[in-house]
Symmetry: C2
Subunit: 250 residues, 2 copies
């Protein structure tokens, strides 16, 4: 009466397989040339099956973005677990975001795209909900660092702001910086001469100094410290970046 053969795990694996192929296609053709037909052609499943997983192209894009956020979560967690001062770890978190953006340009690009209303507007409810959960979880690591900072007195919560608002302040600053600069490698724009890692570093410090988050910039060499910390916590990522011929300048 109930001959169900749907294996939840296998289903999940298949979904990831489709996502992986889509990522490869974006890397090869650019996100603007991704089509469902091409994805279906790359994958050992039929159109109908693919559409069982994703209600449309936008839904697939959001799924890729969610996948990316999962990957990012891992980096955030490592930054969170690093033994060091709270300000240092917060800075490290933001830089783990940057490392991810440099190492996985396709994922980051898709994440940006997935924030556009024309994508959200055509995605499934479930997928949007998933995005929400993932981003909330991501914020959790940041939230934790701030809690600790307040507990050990290195940070005093400003009047009329709670921890959540502080989380958001940090997140939006890093997001704005990386989003606006990641695309610009060489453009004859008013934004030339801006190096994403340097601007991110500066802006983090401005924000943290504005919050009076100890130790202040004037009291500590955050720059050299961050360099060491990154080498310690993200050695592989740093190596991969070097292999890409990219160097971090800040």
């Amino acid at each position: 009466m109930t001959p169900r053969i749907l294996d939840e795990a296998a289903l999940q694996a298949r979904e990831e397989q489709i996502i992986d192929e889509a990522i490869k296609l974006i890397a090869k053709l650019g996100i603007e040339n991704l089509t469902m037909d091409k994805v279906v052609a790359k994958v050992p499943y039929s159109k109908g099956t693919v559409y069982k997983h994703f209600i449309g192209k936008e839904d697939l894009l959001l799924a890729i973005s969610n996948q990316a956020v999962k990957l990012l979560s891992g980096l955030f967690l490592r930054a969170f677990q690093f033994e060091g001062g709270t300000r240092e770890r917060m800075l490290l978190s933001n830089f783990s975001y940057l490392l991810y953006a440099i190492l996985h340009p396709v994922l980051f690009q898709t994440e940006i795209c997935a924030k556009a209303p024309n994508v959200i507007g055509k995605s499934s409810e479930a997928r949007i909900k998933e995005q929400d959960v993932l981003e909330t979880k991501l914020m959790g690591a940041i939230f934790g660092i701030i809690e600790e900072a307040i507990a050990d007195k290195s940070l005093l919560l400003p009047e009329h702001m709670d921890i959540q608002q502080l989380c958001f302040a940090n997140w939006s600053m890093a997001y704005g910086t990386i989003a606006l600069l990641s695309g610009e490698v060489e453009q004859c724009s008013g934004r030339t001469n801006l190096i994403v890692e340097r601007e991110l570093f500066n802006q983090c410090n401005l924000l943290f100094d504005g919050l009076q988050w100890k130790p202040l910039t004037k009291d500590k060499q955050h720059c050299s410290e961050l360099r060491k910390t990154i080498e310690q916590v993200f050695p592989n990522e740093l190596m991969l970046i070097k292999e890409k011929g990219r160097e971090l300048n800040f």
Copy 2:
């Protein structure tokens, strides 16, 4: 021998007419449901003519975004020309961006979309160049305020940062905040309880305090001052917002 009848001005007018109809369509159907066919149907010109102006849908979107930036420029200029302290005017600039985002959600939404690589990737070179020029011009107002601030000693340029970087720091902060929050009216997210105008206000002050931009938050009631300034410089905009049933809470 040379019967040219192309009137540059009329051509421009027609382009704006097409853009206007597209904006109306986005407002009605949502940006995800905009199609060139629908635009052509709304406009007294044929498909071929429309495609003379815009090489494709993405190019049209970028054109709308550029139109939006022009509108925004006017607001920025008014903030720039306001007679008041430099910090106050900078704050006002950022809020003019917010007013625009609230008053013209379609334009702002399109602006966000137009930053996505899948749109840029399919736009014409000329249009991208135009975007660049417009954004540089926009930055000009911000740049000017900072120059003045440095001149009158209310702001000291931090070590290892130039004016351009400071401009960018401000821009990316405001962009990140508004972009991440503008979509969220009521969502059951980790980002609930965040009110865009309040967060923008807080983050501006954190950044400016971090820069030691006088007068500091502890020395002045920026909040009530900003309220007055907005009423003075943007009375119409404020009225329109009220008519929309929206109220600024910060």
